[in-house]
């Protein structure tokens, strides 16, 4: 009896180990390649691990790939954008979930409707708009949209979450003379922090990973974001794979580190966005 019951468990564990390691393999290969000399990286058959890890590859890569400047550039876009997303999507969600006003249903429908429009469709007229007012080269076109509602999906997510909190709370506060601002920021905000953390983390990943936006709006290489700089570096240093891999390790590290810190919220956020809607 023991063997037939134990066998599938062993098989499943073995499969999990194999597939899991395969999933980690690109990370391993990236790190391994970033530590090789030019001769070793172009050896065939390839070495699995460098004979002597070339740590100097990193300082050397930094000369052509000023990571810390790109990091600063990326944060200059990402941090204000996250603030904008959190603030304006919460305000909109509160109005849609908690205030009775004429036109609420129409506004809600419009928000949901705009979720259905793929962002790629409107990039040209938006670019034309920024060009018309002379601001098409710089960070503003990448930051300002975050302050204009913060994305329909985030409004929707936050609104759905607010709907699950009993309205008795607000009504009691109204009797005590609280304003909407106080209800939102003093009473409800602590209750909706899980969804706000999820929205914030995903906004971070979205802005951090964005490539099309910087390609369109940032023409000056000194102002490049990390993603953009990595794309340029790859096309500019075509065959110097050890340097390209070192640059990739640096570009990939910050979001991965953030993931390990906020893992619980990432997983919860994905489940929230996937199942509640």
């Amino acid at each position: 009896m023991l063997v037939p019951r134990l066998l599938p468990r062993i098989v499943f564990n073995v499969i999990a180990v194999i597939v899991g390691l395969a999933c980690l393999f690109p990370f391993l290969w990236m790190i391994r390649s970033s530590l090789m000399s030019n001769i070793e990286i172009n050896t065939y058959p390839p070495h699995f691990w460098p004979d002597t890890p070339q740590w100097m590859n990193y300082p050397n890569t930094l000369k052509a790939f000023p990571f810390f400047r790109y990091l600063l550039n990326t944060l200059t876009i990402t941090l204000p954008s996250i603030a904008g997303v959190l603030l304006t999507s919460t305000l909109a969600a509160y109005a849609l979930a908690r205030i009775d006003f004429p036109g609420r249903q129409v506004m809600f429908t419009l928000v949901i409707g705009s979720m259905l429009i793929p962002p790629a469709v409107t990039i040209i007229p938006i670019f034309v708009g920024w060009t018309t007012i002379g601001l098409s080269n710089g960070y503003l076109p990448l930051i300002v949209p975050a302050f204009l509602g913060g994305g329909a999906f985030n409004i929707f997510l936050c609104r759905q979450f607010l709907m699950t909190i009993p309205r008795d709370l607000d009504e009691a506060a109204v009797i005590d003379g609280a304003t909407h601002r106080q209800i939102l920021f003093d009473i409800l905000l602590p209750l909706i922090t899980p969804v706000l953390i999820a929205i914030g983390l995903f906004a971070f990943i979205l802005y951090w990973n964005d490539l099309l936006g910087p390609l369109i709006y940032i023409n000056n290489t000194d102002q490049s974001t990390i993603s953009q700089a990595l794309a340029n570096f790859k096309s500019g240093f075509g065959t110097d794979w050890k340097a390209i891999m070192a640059a990739s390790v640096m570009a990939v590290l910050p979001p991965v580190a953030l993931y390990f810190v906020g893992q619980k919220y990432f997983i919860e956020g994905i489940v929230l966005s996937g199942l509640k809607s």
Partner: protein, 295 residues
Amino acid sequence: MKTRFSRSNIRTAYLFLAPAILGLTFITVLPLLGVVGISLTDWSGLEPPSFIGMDNYINLFNGDNYFFHSVVATLWFAFGAVIAGIIYSFLVALLLNQKILFRGLWRSVFFLPYIVPIIGASVVWAWMYESNFGVFNWLLGFLGVDKVKWLQSEALATPSLIAMTVWASGNLIVIFMAGLQNVPRSYLEAVEIDGGNTWHKFRHVTLPLLSPVIFFNFLTCLVFNLQAFVPAYAMTQGGPNDSTLSMVYLMYREGFMRNSFGHASALSLLFFLFIVALTALVFASSRKYMFYEGE
């Protein structure tokens, strides 16, 4: 609350919604009208535009066979990535739903690629696909297969991009796992009592109960992959022979590298209609195989 629509309530509501209303106006409605307007001109961004009617659209269907290529490339990539991605993530979720050791750790491992910037993933995979010293050709060597030009061959370029995209779909695994945990144990036990085996449980309980989750993943993943741009931009530059030149890539190239905004706007509008039509099709066909509890 004394009156249903008090004046201060209305004022606060629209004040709170003001940023979103500005957003709806300036990043949704006006740009949509703009796409239509610009697509009827020959605008290059330098000289004032002149109205040329439907010429941009006629050119797309006549002289410019890039358009046809891009539709094929987009469909091939998006459906390939979605179908492979759903199968992969569903199987992994089923695996992690078993009683295995370090479940939480494995879940983190499979989710990790989703966090990696797509450009970072593309660069690393491009190196693994490299035909002379890349690791994939080395692994193929063990199977006795000769070196393959993954990204430079018309037949293999799109599947290569798809493989990377599938690897990065850890978000789907997490959603499937959450769905699997919501399957009531009592349903599964009922099948056991009736003498059903694992396959019966899967086919008649798990799969029907999860069909809404599968549908949600399918749709969001499809819309996402129809707009994919970075993998092709970083790994194949749309080649070889336009085989990975997606509609969004073509739009970017016409609009921002060649400054023909009119042409690119016509592409944008057709792309929009294309996505709407596909989404409607997916919704319509979903009625046939979807199972909703309580119906």
